[in-house]
């Protein structure tokens, strides 16, 4: 997938196509000033899909990586290297891994490199940091610009010394003549002049087998700022004269404001109230006063009855979004093959809505100076948020600057700019900078969720374990990882867009988690149906060498096939590929005999994503993906009713904690002959089915819903 130039946005990135969060009342003249004179016809659609089809809203098309300016690098006369990239740091450690890429090619120590990231004024356009795209794209681009800079420096030295450039080598920030042994610092070659160079088209890169800096485990370049508490996250930003903001939240999704009594709040000192359509917010000198002011507002809202999580899965099946269902993939004849099969199996799998719950909730600090807006905010798409702000305030994008300080994680959940817009709206009214930090409860309710979904699988196979027919329908959760990688001659695979009761969007690994859960659970069921060991059964139906490699490596490390030693013990496996990575996961569980609580005891992950850039960081990402994946596999599910989230706080929503962590073992397969792929997402996809399959192995109960909850046995 990663090498496919037609890589496109997965349909489940719903949040990118959603309509703006607010429609502010606008002065008509202002609008015309912005758009130019003419007739203005407003069509406000409730449903973002319609908006997108009628083309009224620009949306990102494909992956537009302009080759001319993907990234910038600057080497100063003081020897400092500054690198500009629109990518952002949310804990995936790219500030370090991209520095490594530059250090490698430019041959300078890592500590001489300063990365400017995600600042729309200073860095080149970037669509966003998601989809495990940084390593395959930005890493390459930066290596290319750094290599070009190195060549230029060697050329300068050659000209200065009047020698053949082939005698010269670059290392440790210097160019050295291998014959005369004289050397010169990069900075000394510059002598106050300006040089520019375009990136050469040919590939001048150092092959992975000769990497000196890349491929090493390097500590975080800014680790010291983190362990001393010095680093300023978005929620830590501050400006002189700054006010704090709070937003009045409706009691239910989609509610409209009927009336608002501001009398009591208006009497409070230093409090200002801002109302603009459905948007109501306050500013005050402290968060506490702002909260009190919000509590003093008396609002009446109107809302419609809405579905609850109890009827969620039926709802998704019964509410197509309209429009045609796209056959994602079809070969052979599923009907004929099913008719001739020895065994047939049909199963439905469900996945719940879950929340990203990044430990740092959404935050933004906004400042206007005249018609120019600057916002510091935690987002994976600073340029996308810039567009959202420009659209919300009807100002040209070049008047908006978005800066993204390294943020307290995101996991696909911070693609949108609602907090930035809210803070900016309040700041415009206050004529002072305003900071807005969402509470945990706001983050749980007003961000977007990983889509819930229903997946129907029908299959047919021969007695000997050869799969003949495979039909796979995914309702709502998404199309990422929907195709099977097993070799099956007759297939029909479809993604069905569905109306969602909740606001939904990207989540780490997207629907690959749901689709792998369904596929790999079904594979286990089929293996049991024909009494073949699940590993053998998979390998029998699988030609892809990279996938066979990870399954075999995980099984070997795990000791697959060994006898169980205790009651309630179970072993299971799951795996697949996504975003250029291949993963296989083997799991040992212990299921309590009476409570039937599932404890994951041991997880072995084999992972292969081409040439490894930073092995220790890769292990860190794989461990983290497994720990996070435990939550969605075993506990996390958003409960909701009538447009309200019922379990939107950490005391009600169970996330993985210290004592949940199993023994985690990782096998890395380093393929230096293959391009490097990202690893933030893929490693988590094998875990949930492996747990479900292990539970079946332990107690003979098949888990078909995420999170996996086994009813206790009746007393």
């Amino acid at each position: 997938m990663s090498n496919n130039p037609n890589w496109r946005l997965e349909p489940e990135r719903y949040e990118l196509n959603a309509p703006p969060a607010y429609y502010f009342e606008v002065d008509r003249r202002e609008f015309f000033k912005f758009l130019g004179a003419g007739v203005l016809v407003f069509c406000v659609l409730k449903d973002g899909r319609g908006l997108q089809e009628s083309g009224t809203r620009k949306r990102p098309q494909g992956e537009s990586l302009p080759n001319e300016i993907g990234a910038w690098l600057h080497l100063g006369e003081n020897g400092e290297v500054t690198v500009y990239t629109g990518k952002v740091e949310v804990g995936q450690n790219i500030r370090t891994s991209l520095s490594q890429a530059v250090a490698e090619e430019l041959r300078v120590p890592v500590d001489k490199i300063h990365m400017v990231m995600g600042d729309t004024k200073l860095t080149p356009y970037d669509m966003g940091t998601f989809g495990s795209r940084t390593t395959p794209t930005m890493n390459l681009q930066l290596r290319k610009v750094a290599a070009a800079a190195r060549d230029l420096l060697i050329g300068l030295a050659a000209a200065q010394w009047q020698v053949d450039r082939r005698r010269l080598v670059a290392a440790n920030g210097k160019v050295t003549d291998t014959q005369s042994k004289r050397a010169v610092e990069y900075a000394a070659l510059l002598k106050g002049q300006q040089f520019t160079q375009a990136i050469p088209a040919e590939d001048p890169l150092i092959p992975a087998t000769q990497w000196a800096v890349e491929g090493q485990s390097l500590r975080k370049v800014d680790g010291l700022d983190f362990v001393t508490g010095k680093h300023r996250y978005p929620s830590d930003q501050k400006l002189p004269d700054m006010l704090h903001g709070k937003i009045l939240r409706p009691p239910a999704f989609g509610a409209t404001l009927v009336s608002l009594d501001t009398h009591d709040a208006e009497k409070m000192r230093d409090v200002a109230i801002v109302r603009d359509g459905n948007f109501v917010g306050v500013t005050a000198p402290t968060v506490e006063i702002a909260s009190r002011a919000i509590a003093a507002l008396h609002a009446e809202w109107k809302s419609e009855p809405q579905p609850s999580n109890k009827e969620l899965f039926e709802y998704l099946k019964k509410n197509p979004a309209g429009g045609e269902d796209r056959a994602e993939y079809e070969i052979g004849s599923v009907e004929k093959a099913t008719a001739s099969a020895d065994h047939r199996l049909q199963q439905t799998y469900n996945v719940s809505y879950i929340a990203h719950a990044p430990l740092e909730p959404r935050a933004a600090l906004a400042q206007w100076s005249g018609d120019n807006l600057t916002v510091w905010t935690g987002t994976q798409r600073p340029f996308g948020v810039r567009s959202e702000l420009a659209e919300a305030f009807r100002i040209p994008e070049d008047r908006v600057r978005v800066l993204m300080p390294d943020t307290g994680s995101a996991y696909g959940g911070k693609h949108t700019g609602e907090t930035a817009i809210e803070a900016a709206r309040l700041a415009r009214a206050a004529k002072r900078p305003v900071k807005l930090v969402w509470t945990r409860e706001e983050e749980f309710s007003w961000a977007y969720f990983r889509p819930a979904g229903v997946i129907d699988v029908r299959s047919g196979l021969r007695k000997d374990g050869t799969i003949l027919a495979w039909e796979f329908h995914n309702y709502n959760s998404g199309a990422a990882g929907i195709r099977t990688f097993y070799d099956i001659p007759n297939q029909r695979i479809q993604f069905h867009e569905t109306r969602s009761p909740l606001r939904q969007g990207s989540y780490r690994a997207l629907a690959a988690t749901a689709n792998h859960f369904a596929r790999e659970s079904h594979m286990d069921e089929l293996a049991h149906l024909v009494n073949i060991d699940p590993l053998e059964f998979r390998l029998k139906n699988l030609k892809n060498e990279r996938l066979r490699g990870v399954f075999e490596a995980a099984a070997k490390k795990f000791g697959w096939g060994r006898k169980k030693t205790a009651a309630g013990q179970g072993f299971g496996m799951g795996g697949g590929f996504e975003k250029g990575g291949n993963v296989a996961t083997c799991v040992e569980v212990a299921v309590d005999r009476s409570s039937r609580e599932v404890k994951v005891v041991r997880v072995v992950t084999a992972f292969e994503c081409g040439a490894i850039v930073n092995p220790d960081n890769l292990r860190n990402q794989i461990e983290g993906a497994n720990v996070m994946g435990l939550g969605g596999a075993l506990w996390e599910a958003i409960e909701f009713e009538n447009g309200r989230i019922l379990n939107g706080r950490f005391s009600d929503y169970r996330v993985p904690r210290f004592s949940d962590v199993p023994v985690l073992e990782t096998v890395l397969l380093d393929r230096k002959d293959l391009p490097s792929a990202g690893a933030g997402e893929c490693p988590m996809i094998g875990l949930a089915p492996a747990i479900g399959n292990a539970v079946f192995d332990a107690i003979g109960v098949r888990a078909v819903t995420l999170p996996i909850r086994i009813e206790p046995l009746p007393a």
């Binding site: 680790g223 983190f226 001393t228 402290t286 990044p358 860190n620 983290g624 993906a625 904690r657 210290f658």
Partner: protein, 158 residues
């Protein structure tokens, strides 16, 4: 509003705040000590952990008026004579962080843990640290960092 004296990291400050305001807000907004983080506001995540007379406390649910003249230590107060606390060093060495938003709370809780359990087992660590959430899932590395720091502190005291 009254002036509330607060002893933070060895200095005494007079803070203009209502007594029922959270200690976390006062640290972050009045004293600009933003190393302590907000993660939940209900004592569930540990991101706001500080030491009060050496004991780990969730500053988000601690009213500033309740602290009195007890000594508050935040992450900013751990560095002594320009030297990192052994736990800070161990978190660096073990790369026990991804986004690091949980890190200061994790370190503060671990400082308290090592005071009472100078040589903690893995399960003691898990038990003591259960109230600290790391959404990035770096728990195994944090456990390793704590054990490494425990060892370093023991060696230093011998």
């Amino acid at each position: 509003m009254a002036k509330i004296p607060l002893n933070v990291n060895g200095s005494v400050y007079d803070v203009d705040a209502d007594a029922d305001v959270s200690l976390l807000s006062v640290l972050r907004d009045h004293l600009d000590l933003t190393g302590s983080k907000y993660g939940c506001g209900e004592g569930q995540c540990g991101a706001c952990t500080v030491l009060i007379d050496g004991n780990p406390r969730r500053s988000c649910i601690t009213q500033v008026g309740s602290v009195g003249n007890r000594r508050i230590t935040t992450i900013e107060g751990l560095v002594q004579d320009g030297r990192l606390h052994p736990l800070q060093q161990a978190f660096l060495d073990e790369d026990a962080m991804q986004c690091a938003y949980c890190t200061s709370g994790m370190i503060m809780s671990s400082v308290a843990l090592l005071k009472t359990h100078p040589n903690p087992s893995e399960s003691e660590i898990a038990h003591f640290m259960e109230g600290n959430i790391c959404r990035c899932g770096t728990y195994p590395r944090i456990v390793a960092a704590i054990q490494k720091a425990a060892k370093a502190m023991k060696e230093a005291s011998q």
